[in-house]
Every structure is written in C-alpha cells, then in structure tokens.
Symmetry: C2
Subunit: 362 residues, 2 copies
C-alpha cells in the first residue's frame, strides 16, 4: 500500500538482496534492512522485526531461500527448518511455509535448490497479495451493505492489533476490506485498538491508515465495549494467527474481549482468515492452540516511544516492571464470531461453513 | 495502609495544614502537597492529583473547609460549591460531600463555619475509613470461601484500575478485602489490570500492593479474559464511581469487558460499593450516568513513565497522538454483576438486593 505516496510491500527482492521493513521502529522511522542469512530470518521473526502470520510466512520462505543459497545440503535445510519453526510458536503460516519449502526441494539437486526456493518465495508473496486482495473484495461487500443504512455517515469499523498490509505482504487481512472500501469512495472511519503490550494498533495500524489517508481514531483496549454499547461501532474486523477447522480463532490477546462485547451489543464480528491460517487438524481452539508467552518485563513492563524531540526512549509506569505476565494471544470461541472472511468468500465460523468454501478439506 | 513500613492515609491534617498525596507521581515519587485554597482543591480533583470517588469526596470536603476559612460568606460558599462540583462529572461522592457541607453551614454564623466544616471533613474521613474497613471484612468472607477449595494454592483475584486505599482515605474498596485476607494470613495473588490510559493499575494498585507486601502481577487490559478462560482467576473485585439504585455500575473504562469475560467463564464478579457511591435516583446506568470525556491527546496519546535512569519522560507510540479518544468510564449492566459488597454486607446487584441492606432508601 501507500507509503509517502509510493506503493510498497513488507518484503521484496532488489537484485539478489532480500529486503524488508523492520517494523519495530514504526511509526517513528521507516527502517529497511537486508535478509542475508538464516540468523537474519530467525531474528526477524523471533524479535518481531516482522510480525503478522502471513508476513512471518513470507519471511520464513525467504529465510529458507537465503539459508539454502548459503548452504544447500540436506543437513543445512534441516537446521534451517528447525530454527525457523521454533522462532514463533503460534502462527500456523510459519510451519505451512516451511513444509512447502521441504516439499519443493525434495529430490532436487543441491545446485538447483536455492533458485527454486527464491521462486517459491516470490510466488508465495504474489499469491498472498492476491489472497488478501480477494479477502478485501469480499469484506467490502459487508461495508457496502452497512453504508446503505448510514445515510452518508461514516461506517465505523473497530479493529484490534495490526492485520493490515504490514502483517502480510500487501493489502492485509482485516484492513484489506477497509482499503478496498476507502479506495472506492466509501465514507469509513476506523477505531484502532491500541493493543498493548506492543501497541501494534497505535503504532502500525494507525501508521498504515495515516499513510493511506483513511480516517481513524486510536482508542485504549478498554474502550471498545463502551463504544459498542453506545452504537458507535458498526462492525468489528480482526485478523487471525490460527483458525481451527471448527472456526475458533486465535488472535492477538484481547480479541476475545471485543468479540464478547460485540456479541452482547449485536455488533457484527468478522474474522478475516486467509485459508493458510486454517489448521485443518484442530478442533478445539481453547484446548489445542499453543499460546506464546513472551517476556513480561520487556514488553509489558517497558514501553518504547518517541519523546517530544523525536528521540526514542523506554519508560515504565510500574514500581517493578518484572512483576508482569505476557500471554501474546487468546482464543475466541466460534460462537462469538459472526463469520469468517476468506479469499474464497464469507462463511459461518464453523465446520460446515468452512466445508462449503473448502470442500477439499471436508 | 503501609508506605515504607509506616501507616498513611491519602489526606490528613497536620497542625492547621491539610496535606495529601499527589498521586500523579506514583509509583516513581511519593509527593506530598498542601491544600490551602479553593483553587488547590479544584486543581487536585480536576488534574487528578487525587482520584477515586471516596478520595475525591474527602478532598472536596477539605476544599470547602479551606475555602470557607479564607472567606466564610454565603457568596464564597456558593462559588466553592459550584467550582468543586464542576471539577469531575462522574463521581457521585463529590456532589454528596458538597451537599453535606451546605447542610452543615446552613444557619451557622460566618465565624463558626470553617471550624464546623473541618470537623465535618475529619469525621467524613474517619467514617470513610470505617466504611472501607467494613467492606473489607464482608469481602474477605468470599475470599475465605474460595480458599477452602484451593488446597493452599493462592486465591487469584483480578482487579481493574485502582480501588485501593489511594482511591479512598484508607483501606480502599475493591482492595480492602484483599488487605484483610492478606493480613489474616490467606494466600492471595492479585492480577492487576494495567488500566490504560492513565495506568492506575500499573502505577497505583501495583505500588500499594508492593508497599504492603501483597503478591501481584501486572497484566495488560487485554489479558483478563484469556486468564479466566484458563481458570487462572477465582474472583474479580472492582470499585465503582457511581452505582444506580438498580445495581448498574459505572467504573473505570474497561470494567464492562472484564464483567463480560467473568460472566462467560462463570467467574464471580463483585463490585465493592460504599453506600455513598449509590445514586438512589438513577434507574438505568447506560442511559443516565454521564460519562466524562477527557483529553485523548494528553492521556491516550502520551504516556509518562520513568526511564532506566529514573528520569520521568513523556513518550508517544503513535504517528499522531491527537487522533485519539478518551472515554474515562463505562457502565456494567447489573446482569453481569454477581453481587455488590457494601459496608452493610453483600447483596445482589439489583433494587431488591439494595433495598434489604438500605431499607431507608426503599
């Protein structure tokens, strides 16, 4: 999408160098770095220079490609697979991408492996962009429908965390319908949940929307329920890091609370779920999806921001930033989800709904 | 409660000087300032040097007393009443305290007014401490009951914002049962919601518990639902800024989301409500209670904390801290509240429940 008036993706190749946006410095600085080794890729994912399930998947693919370019042996491929697979535990796209790599190089001569993996990564990125674009087109129909009853007043969309283009290669998942609607001239306004502890809403979603010119307001994570009680939210659109075959959704911590509030106030709650976020083997999200625990001290205890002079600083509000806990995701049970928006269309968040759209997994 | 090993209240008189804790600098610095004029009292309340409905009420009483000491005329009393009444819109204790002052000085000679108001303020403070202590005794019975089934494991209490002694004169409301249980040797652990935007949980509740030695963990506002889904919360205890005669509760923004999660997971959700938080004229909290809007830019857009060197700094995580909105409270409908813990005992959060405990308002 648009950055300083130009189109940009989160990860791309220039000559033979893989480049990506180090999202840790946004919205304060647009920092672009190179990915030349397996360790670069592992650190990019584990340290959350990149985040968002599809963007993690794309980074893993290019990580495998550069690792194999550096050492195409079977042993090196196994090391790369294990290293990257351990870098973040929740996003299903990561394992999916790595499995694709193994399938692709299987039986190939060593000297053909790297180029094939670079082609796979490039194709995956283009496919991801198309998938997100399709999600946007399907989701836009919901916003069009709401707009019919708003008499020109803005359609108010609440979103949590960042499921915009920064979380993917381009377009995003939950924000893609908003970009599509905005580009088509619809009057939209986005309530952006701050999304503590890493504030991906305040930092990344706000920055994306600001750059693209979409009207938005950042609110605390505590506010969405109150806004829904007062009719100020027309629809919630969120992303997913892992979706079960039965329609449960694992997404950024706090998603569940917004789903409860939407349910209580009859506000539509849709999850934008590309099919590669779906784990067809899982039945019960609450019991089966592993929830990543991250450092409470580093992420909850300390907050990084820029001061009035533009200098980045870390501060704490707490007497002891070590006395913290940081569960990174939660699971929203399917009963609170109005529907899933996939690249093939919109369906109920349950096994039957998914079966109609993805009969090959039935 | 205990501060650096000594007992302390939030507001007190030394000689003829009223002193109070300026809570804006906690947990970084314990700053004590004097209250000598009406403007001191107005600023203390409006700028949130003090906060929490009972502490606001106590500050308003001493504010009237010092204002009348400076000018005991009817006109000055009216000015003081109007000024203080406008300083915060939501806390019902504020108006209650000011009305008590008017009743008290009514018919008194000008030269007797100030001393009488100082006596009223002192008595109100002592009454408030007793009220909070009683709430603690009643609430402790719930924690004792839970402990019977925990086999020595800690009783996990989730709380939101600060309804500890800093929000009152001493003991607190929601934290009072925890202090009572802890002092009696019960194994308790408190999940402290950070409570953005002003982070009263991370700043004040954590500081109180730290000073008193009560085990606690600060979590983001997004986390409570997930912890409840996994059986990690035994009971929620929160305060209230205004309670309707029908049991609806207006408290810090985000309380409603935790009540929804507690309801969804069969976790007990109790509101500690001193009777002076009850507005006996209100029937429908969502429709009738005015919700204070505060500066989004100042409170959501910018975060104050100390850096690693202990220097207080303001930072923002956002591209534009002005694009924010800051509703300070929300309303939790009575159907999500397990019960109210008052100074007279525990009751259902509805008109009949309150009538039994407070027949004089029936």
């Amino acid at each position: 999408m648009r950055v300083n008036g130009k189109d940009m993706r989160t990860i791309w190749v220039e000559g033979d160098v893989v480049k990506f946006i180090d999202q840790r410095f946004l919205p304060h600085e647009l920092k672009i770095i190179s990915l030349g080794t397996l360790e670069d890729a592992r650190a990019a994912i584990a340290d959350m220079k990149v985040r968002g399930a599809p963007c993690i998947g794309a980074t893993a693919l290019y990580g495998m490609a550069v690792a194999v370019r550096n050492d195409p042996s079977d042993a090196a491929i196994k090391t790369a697979y294990d290293t990257l697979n351990a870098s973040r535990p929740t996003a299903v796209n990561l394992k999916w991408a790595l499995d694709e790599c193994i399938k692709t190089v299987n039986g190939l001569a060593e000297n053909a492996r790297a180029e094939t993996l670079f082609q796979l990564a490039a194709k995956n990125c283009d496919d991801d962009v198309q998938m997100c674009s399709n999600i946007g087109d399907h989701g836009k129909t919901l916003l069009d429908e709401i707009a019919k009853h708003k008499k020109g007043e803005p359609v108010n969309i609440l979103t949590h965390c960042n499921a915009g283009w920064l979380a993917t290669v381009d377009w995003g998942t939950a924000i893609s319908p908003i970009y599509k609607a905005f580009n088509a001239g619809l009057n939209v306004h986005v309530w952006v949940d701050e999304t503590r502890p890493r504030s991906q809403g305040a930092r990344l979603t706000a920055w994306e929307l600001e750059q693209h010119g979409v009207p938005y307001t950042v609110i605390t994570d505590n506010s969405g329920g109150h806004l829904m009680q007062h009719g100020l939210v027309d629809i919630c659109l969120v992303g997913t890091d892992r979706t079960t075959a039965t329609g449960d959704v694992c997404n950024k911590i706090g998603t569940y609370l917004k789903a409860l509030a939407a349910f209580d106030n009859n506000v539509a709650f849709y999850v934008c779920a590309p099919s590669n976020s779906i784990d067809w083997h899982m039945q019960d999200g609450l019991k089966e999806i592993p929830i990543e625990m991250r450092s409470g001290e580093q992420e909850v205890g300390w907050i990084t921001g820029r001061d009035a002079d533009g200098v980045l600083r870390r501060v704490t509000t707490m007497p002891d930033p070590k006395k913290t806990r940081n569960d990174a995701f939660d699971v929203t049970p399917r009963k609170y989800i109005t529907g899933l928006i996939t690249e093939r269309g919109i369906c109920k968040a349950n096994r039957d709904g998914l079966r109609v759209l993805f009969p090959e997994h039935g």
